[in-house]
């Protein structure tokens, strides 16, 4: 093919645009220009600081105010007070990402400039922003008194009434209430002019929340509820009239959550707010000042928002001695979450308590001391060391007070990584295991999309058997009560805290042809190749192991149980050739679901034997223990089941299987009272129906029984239906529980709920 074109075409359409583009780029790349355009993004913070301080020194008084507004307060509300680099809680550890928002100035310098601004600028939104920032800065230095004073002074700069003054007053009243000065908080609250807030739903909600908390603290729970209900109604009406969804409007969620918690409190006869206080210190006793402490209500735990308003009304910062306190806390269940700076968290970790729930009830004063522990330093194998031996010696720095350690192994693959427990209950700060033991470990497999077996990640299938795979490891230390003390994983942001890199390679074996086919992303062909290997040599444990892994992954990815029989058979053969507790547990779990108790008992016993622990030790996870208890119950070993259920409740702070425990107890004792006592003792957390679900259900059932014409008949019916559940006749129970037109709707609801326990 040939093309013809004229000189003028080249000039017009190629050279001229190129010239234009390159000259623009050149101009943009010039340091002065880019600095002017991107706000000195390429400068280091130290350079920015020097320049800013120089500019300020040169400027006249009015110019200084302008510079502070632009460079210190920030423009366009990009600054959110009360935000932290890292949040740590029981089911979240998240970081704010990069350090884009870092200010080049030292906190003390910022404080001086903000004070100057507040004293000299004209009142407006920037002044209010500056006040909030100043309060946050003082708090973060552990100087709460100065923060209170600054807030007072800033408020005086605004006229009454004004929206900004009201906003600062809400902040002040909230602080006073958290500090336990309910009377002063009330005074501040009463001076707020609510009409100034009318346009701002967010502020309005904050105002209502404050009002409700003040009322509740004043033992006026019903009024508090009414105030919230009215506010929610108004908010709904406003958003419907503007055609938007009320749930998406600012302030709706915190209002409804507070409404629910007061409703629950009233139902549970709780009319007094509680107090939680404590300290945040490092293990050497040094207080951590200026750290954020959040008290998160049970229903809010899964919202990962770091927005201070979404996290509820209970947030504060530790003072210079690391102390913090929350007063006027609604009854209910809470967990702590910390907000730390990179400097505070670097090289340290906070281990959430084994039972993270804080129960605020009957106005009790609770003490919750929190200790940061240094990260465990790993000794070997580290820094991408290559191991060719048949034995691997892991060793790490011992932790004071540790009774045992768990070691986890991980594999890195192109787009991710997985981790899994390699060994539990290690009594020394070192562990020697054979390569074969690592090979037996299967990891959670990764895949691209369900229904596409080819998308399985080969590296996740081979796990530790891939000599080219980069492996990682970490340890967790526990005390004798099973409480986590410290761990090796965490934030390592300086050269000192980085320590050894937790990576190594295990090059103890070579890939088989079938492995290569798998790594070539042809799982179906690999499956056939492994099958051939097993046929050629029935003792080939590697091929057998890979065959079971691929079959199991295929079933999950293709979402069918085709080939399950073959898989189970192969698993049994593998277990006989190369016994591993993990595989025994897989088989026990399979027979649990099949309700084949003979087989279940066999593999459960094998699992315990291979895990070298007796059944009452920490050898079983809370979930395994719970299913073991259910298995005992199904085999009519009710007394043994009770024993295991009790241990499971102690192990699992969420009490996931409490429903089955209640059924077992009720079937044995035949009294609703003892069942109710259990429900109260072990509230089920993190369930959709709420923490008092079983308590309320059993209370309702007591009432239903009382109203029933013939109590003996009611008891008989209950015993029969419980029998069906206990003995595993779900096929009979299910249709009965979903029948309509029964005169025992609560009993039916109870049975339905039991069927959902898993």
């Amino acid at each position: 093919m040939r093309v013809k074109f004229k000189v003028k075409h080249i000039v017009l359409y190629v050279l001229l645009p190129l010239l234009l583009i390159s000259s623009t780029v050149y101009i943009l790349m010039m340091p002065q220009v880019s600095a002017w355009l991107y706000g000195r993004a390429n400068q280091s913070l130290a350079e920015q600081r020097t320049e800013l301080l120089e500019d300020l020194a040169k400027a006249s008084a009015p110019e200084r105010i302008n510079i502070i507004r632009q460079k210190v307060i920030g423009s366009g509300g990009s600054y959110t007070p009360f935000s932290f680099d890292v949040y740590i809680g029981s089911n979240s550890s998240q970081s704010g990402g990069d350090s884009d928002s870092a200010s080049p100035l030292q906190p003390a310098e910022q404080i001086d400039l903000l004070n100057e601004y507040i004293a000299q600028s004209t009142p407006g939104y920037e002044l209010e922003d500056a006040s909030q920032q100043l309060v946050f800065l003082y708090d973060s230095l552990g100087q709460q008194q100065q923060a209170d004073q600054a807030l007072q002074q800033a408020m005086a700069r605004f006229p009454t009434p004004s929206e900004q003054r009201s906003q600062l007053a809400i902040l002040q009243a909230g602080r006073l209430l958290n500090e336990g000065n309910a009377e002063e908080a009330k005074e501040v609250y009463q001076k707020i002019h609510p009409e100034t807030l009318s346009q701002n739903t967010d502020l309005n909600a904050a105002y209502t929340l404050l009002h409700a908390r003040l009322l509740y603290t004043d033992h006026q729970a019903d009024q508090a509820l009414a105030v919230l209900t009215d506010a929610i109604k108004e908010l709904k009406e406003n958003s419907y009239s503007s055609g938007s969804d009320p749930a998406s409007s600012m302030g709706y969620t915190p209002l409804t959550r507070m409404q629910q918690s007061i409703q629950t409190a009233i139902r549970m006869d709780e009319y007094t707010a509680g107090t939680i206080q404590g300290t945040l210190k490092r293990s050497d006793g040094t207080p951590v000042a200026g750290a954020g402490v959040f008290l998160i209500a049970e229903g809010d735990l899964n919202s990962y928002s770091s927005n201070v308003f979404d996290s509820g009304p209970y947030h504060t910062m530790t003072d210079a001695k690391g102390r913090y306190a929350f007063h006027a806390v609604m009854p209910g269940f809470y967990q702590l979450r910390l907000g730390l700076s990179f400097q505070q968290v670097d090289g340290w970790t906070w281990q959430v308590p084994a039972d993270p729930w804080i129960h605020v009830t009957k106005g009790k004063q609770l003490q919750q001391n929190t200790v940061l522990q240094p990260l465990i330093q790993l000794k070997q194998p580290v820094n991408d060391q290559i191991i060719t031996d048949n034995q691997i010696v892991f060793s790490w720095q011992p932790v004071k007070g540790a009774a045992y350690y768990n070691l986890e192994g991980g594999i890195q693959y192109p787009n991710g990584s997985t981790r899994s427990v390699v060994k539990e209950n290690i009594r020394t700060p070192s562990l020697t295991i054979t390569a074969e033991e690592l090979y037996r470990m299967s990891m959670g497999f990764s895949y691209g999309s369900s229904g596409d077996f080819d998308s399985v990640v080969p590296e996740s299938m081979l796990s530790f058997m891939n000599p080219n795979g980069r492996l990682s490891w970490n340890v967790i230390a526990y005390d004798s009560n099973g409480q986590q003390i410290s761990q090796s994983s965490g934030y390592r942001l300086t050269r000192e805290s980085m320590g050894n890199l937790p990576f190594f390679y295990l090059k103890n074996r070579t890939l088989t042809p079938a492995d290569r086919i798998l790594l070539d992303k042809k799982p179906e062909e690999a499956l056939a190749a492994y099958r051939q290997d097993v046929a050629a040599n029935p003792q080939d444990t590697h091929a057998l192991r890979m065959l079971t892994r691929l079959l199991s992954a295929k079933q999950s990815i293709m979402e069918n149980t085709e080939g399950e029989a073959e898989y189970i058979k192969l698993m049994q053969r593998l277990l006989a050739l190369s016994p591993s507790s993990q595989d025994a547990s897989t088989l026990a779990d399979y027979y649990y679901r099949q309700q084949d108790w003979t087989a279940y008992n066999k593999y459960h016993a094998l699992y315990l034997a291979l895990n070298d622990g007796s059944e009452n030790e920490i050898a079983l996870s809370s979930y395994d223990r719970s299913t073991y208890a259910v298995a005992l119950m199904r085999q009519n070993k009710l007394q043994q089941a009770v024993q295991q259920f009790r241990l499971a409740m102690q192990q699992d702070p969420d009490h996931r299987f409490v429903g089955s425990y209640i059924a077992n107890r009720l079937y044995m004792d035949r009294t609703l009272e003892s069942a109710l006592a259990l429900a109260e003792q072990y509230p089920q957390h993190e369930s959709e129906q709420g923490v008092y679900f079983w308590t309320n259900l059993l209370r309702d059932m007591q009432a239903e029984r009382k109203q029933y014409s013939n109590t003996a008949q009611y008891d008989q019916e209950l015993q029969q239906k419980l029998g069906w559940y206990v003995q595993g006749h779900e096929d009979r129970l299910k249709p009965w529980a979903s029948q309509s037109s029964k005169d025992t709707p609560i009993m039916q609801k109870f049975m339905k709920a039991l069927l959902e326990v898993r």
Partner: protein, 122 residues
């Protein structure tokens, strides 16, 4: 004067003339035209402006691909991924554009981590 050459003779002379002139060729068309019709600057520019290239795509494509590859290789080889403003002495103080990386259960500053891995390799 009447022609005393016969047509046959005429033809022969012509043939002879053609033979003699065979080695002489006139190549001055352009020169003559240029002298008789002098070209303006404008028209010359116009000619250049409208000058037509005729290029076979295949060699052009190969040449283009080669240039692009060289350019890409140049970019890869000479583009240092580590931040240029990073002062190694003060690397513990956060610069305004550092990225975190989560790997092996830990969280590191990406540049520091990459440096450490490089060190272990050497």
């Amino acid at each position: 004067m009447t022609s005393d050459h016969s047509p046959n003779e005429q033809q022969q002379i012509r043939k002879q003339l053609e033979q003699e002139l065979q080695s002489i060729q006139f190549k001055g068309h352009d020169h003559v035209l240029h002298q008789t019709h002098p070209e303006s600057l404008r028209s010359r520019i116009h000619a250049l402006w409208n000058y037509e290239f005729d290029i076979s795509l295949r060699p052009a494509g190969i040449a283009g691909a080669l240039t692009a590859t060289t350019f890409a290789a140049f970019l890869i080889l000479f583009n240092d991924p580590s931040p240029s403003v990073q002062d190694p002495a003060s690397s513990s103080s956060p610069s305004s554009q550092r990225q975190l990386i989560q790997i092996g259960g830990n969280t590191y500053w990406q540049d520091q981590y990459e440096q450490a891995v490089k060190q272990d390799e050497s």
